[in-house]
């Protein structure tokens, strides 16, 4: 039995490597994606374009505005002199925020009264608006603390960001990309290998040999797992070398988890190819599966933010588990107990999907 499976595996790998276009597709787009994703995908709120509408002529307002100018979060792009101009600046997207200092500001501050400062924010991009207002509040607090005669605040909350002290989005996106790209490749290779054989008629040729359905499935699964692992490692090395990510856990733990994860991916791919007839349908099937599966995995936005129904659905999504493992191992050396808690669902999903795929292929035979 193993002799026949090895024969199949060798043939699959030779097939993949023989085609120059496939070779290209396996190597180049992933690297392009690593570079673009790592740079594009960030929720960082830095250099928010800010317009200043200062009606106060005093020193106090100038001091406050210096606080904004000195902050990394904001970037002052100009001044406006009326509500209408402020509105235009935001509508035309010249500025995301307008800081409005009223004409009594300096007088109020000097009088020890509370001086209101308005911040008009373009909340179309709600996330940016919210974080920008948080930063603005911090700048104002700092300003207040420096006022002569200021009493220290009664409560100080100091914040430390564990695992990713600089709040770098790359540290969040790249471990996720290891998972996404290895999944896309395993699913695609799994789905196409069977669909191609069906389309070219070699599938039937194979079915009349003594190869059994489980042997065929294993022979198809192993090469896809190998490709998925290779893909994951390309991104892994790129993350560590090009983008200087830390790796807190053990690499071998990640690799073992990736094997379980890739098996689930292959199961999906083979199940797709068992129900499709042509490569084109298989590719379409892969996208129809992958687009939502990636979305509900927590890759781009936290699973907790989703409606309950999608959260439940995400329990069937192997990407969800692997995402936790990859991010955990890169950044925080996830404890073994937690890793195991993610691995067994993946193994369960893989077992179910491979079983389903084998059954589907068996049925396709008859």
């Amino acid at each position: 039995m193993w002799g026949r499976i090895i024969t199949l595996v060798m043939k699959e790998l030779a097939s993949l490597w023989a085609d120059g276009k496939t070779r290209f597709v396996l190597l180049v787009p992933p690297l392009v994606q690593v570079i673009i994703f790592a740079n594009a995908a960030n929720y960082d709120v830095k250099h928010v374009p800010l317009c200043v509408w200062n009606e106060d002529l005093g020193v106090q307002s100038a001091e406050l505005i210096r606080g904004f100018a000195g902050s990394e979060a904001f970037h002052i792009v100009g001044a406006v002199w009326s509500e209408r101009q402020a509105r235009t600046a935001i509508e035309d997207k010249q500025a995301v925020a307008v800081l409005h200092v009223g004409q009594d500001f300096s007088a109020d501050i000097l009088a020890g009264k509370t001086a209101p400062v308005q911040m008009l924010l373009d909340a179309r991009r709600s996330n940016t608006a919210l974080l920008a207002s948080d930063y603005a509040a911090q700048i104002v607090a700092l300003y207040n603390a420096r006022l002569p005669g200021a009493t220290p605040p009664p409560v100080v909350v100091s914040v430390s960001n564990l695992f990713n002290p600089a709040l770098d989005s790359k540290w969040f996106i790249l471990p996720g990309l290891v998972v996404i790209l290895s999944l896309m490749m395993t699913v695609l290779v799994g789905a196409l290998s069977l669909a191609r054989e069906k389309e070219l008629g070699t599938f039937e040729q194979m079915l009349v040999t003594p190869l059994t359905a489980p042997e065929i499935m294993l022979g198809k699964a192993i090469p896809a797992v190998i490709v998925g692992l290779a893909e994951a490692n390309i991104v892994l090395v790129a993350s560590l070398v090009l983008f200087g990510l830390p790796f807190a856990g053990h690499v071998w733990v990640l690799e073992l988890c990736l094997v379980a994860f890739s098996l689930a991916g292959v199961g999906i791919g083979l199940a797709i190819s068992a129900v499709t007839e042509t490569q084109q349908q298989a590719i379409l099937g892969v996208f129809v599966y992958a687009a939502p599966a990636i979305m509900i995995s927590g890759y781009a936005a936290p699973v907790e933010n989703m409606p309950k129904l999608l959260q439940w659905l995400s329990y069937t999504d192997p990407i969800r588990y692997m995402m936790v493992v990859a991010r955990g191992l890169f950044l925080e050396d996830l404890p073994g107990r937690v890793v195991w808690g993610q691995v067994w669902p993946m193994m369960l999903i893989a077992a179910v999907l491979l079983g389903v795929a084998t059954t589907l292929v068996r049925r396709a035979i008859a």
Binding site: A115, A129, A136, V159, F287, A300, R337, V338
Partner: protein, 373 residues
């Protein structure tokens, strides 16, 4: 263009759409699923973020603080019995952060002399966005609490500046309001491209393209008939997406329907032409799928400003985004939905879309030569 030939070809395309469910599925089912999944799944609104809190040495907690922290809908506070328990919950991913109140927190608060009461917040920043939001919410909760307590006990500092944020266009700060219009762009670039790409691939596969090319129909008639027919279908799909956006996700439409139609029409011309272009150039399915993915889905998600702010990308990448029309479409959609018909914003984006559409159609006519070689 010969009108009779064009009419005949359009009638053929329309009949095929009606008879073969696959294009209807792509035009209506796929956008529906993508909108629902992405609209709900891509939420940056963090609610009920789990936070473990404890007092060092097991001291008492000020009950008003417990209340204040419990009152905000953004946080879900779990008072841990010990530091280890809180830390374990953080490691296991059960909570996103740990709030530690120093042992003398209550005592110092009671005597607000020179030493402030101290609290420490440690957030797991594996997801930096959520981490920043959580820090903001915790600080906000403390602020609210202090001002309440302050009025009670006259604790707070009088004087100083006080920030009053005004959130325009989206006062409830719902991320769906900007993400869902962006998802429309993603959906339309995928369906538009897939529609034509698959339809042309099918004509090649079934050998009908060969008999079309051998007929007197000109390339402009063949491409034109496809563009016109699938344009109609694509606009139908767009209309459905807009209705879902408004009625399922409750995103307000502040601009005019006319501007929306016009913008969508320009973008649709581009994506349909792009689909024709890809399928004509890449007959190999595997490569075509990769090219389609790299040039539609990825730019629409990553480089369009749908999810990630273009302004915070590095300069070379910002320059690259100008090459992908999804960028113009997303900007125009977000403006029309949330701000209204702000023509100074719309014009440049519409111009970008029109240019892209023109280039797409011309390029498609260029590559689809009347031959098989």
């Amino acid at each position: 263009m010969n009108r009779q030939r064009l009419r005949g070809l359009i009638r053929k395309e329309a009949l095929q759409i009606l008879r073969d469910p696959s294009s209807l599925l792509i035009a209506f089912l796929l956008p529906f699923i993508l909108l629902i999944i992405n609209g709900f799944g891509l939420s940056l609104d963090a609610h009920h973020m789990k936070l473990a809190a404890y007092v060092e040495g097991g001291g008492d907690v000020t009950s008003s603080l417990t209340e204040a922290l419990g009152a905000t809908p953004y946080l879900e506070v779990y008072w841990a019995p010990s530091g280890q328990a809180a830390r374990a919950a953080l490691d296991a991913g059960e909570v996103r952060g740990v709030l530690v109140l120093r042992q003398d927190f209550a005592a110092r608060l009671a005597r607000p002399a020179r030493w402030p009461a101290r609290a420490q917040l440690a957030v797991s920043a594996t997801d930096p966005n959520t981490a920043a939001l959580m820090a903001g919410y915790v600080e906000g909760a403390f602020g609210v609490w202090l001002s309440d307590v302050g009025t009670e006990r006259a604790l707070s500092v009088s004087g100083g500046a006080e920030l009053e944020p005004r959130f325009w266009y989206n006062p409830e700060l719902r991320s769906a309001n900007f993400i869902v219009p962006g998802v429309i762009a993603l959906v339309m670039s995928m369906t538009g491209t897939l529609l034509t790409a698959l339809i042309v691939a099918r004509e090649w596969e079934r050998g009908t393209m060969e008999s079309m090319l051998a007929s007197p129909a000109s390339m402009r008639e063949l491409v034109g008939a496809k563009l016109i027919t699938y344009f109609g279908l694509g606009m139908g799909s767009m209309a459905m997406s807009v209705l879902i956006t408004i009625f399922v996700f409750g995103v307000p439409l502040r601009g005019g329907v006319l501007a929306l139609c016009f913008t969508a029409a320009l973008f649709l011309v581009f994506t349909l032409a792009q689909g024709l272009f890809i399928s004509t150039l890449a007959r190999n399915q595997f490569v075509a799928a990769q090219v389609a993915f790299l040039t539609t889905m990825m730019p629409a998600i990553m480089l369009s400003g749908m999810l990630f702010d273009i302004a915070s990308m590095p300069g070379w990448l910002r320059a690259l985004t100008y090459l992908f029309p999804a960028r113009y479409f997303v900007a125009a959609l977000q403006t029309i939905f949330l701000a209204g018909d702000v023509w100074p914003v719309l014009w440049p984006n519409l111009a970008g879309l029109a240019m892209a559409g023109l280039i797409g159609v011309v390029a498609t006519l260029r590559v689809t030569r009347r031959r098989l070689d």
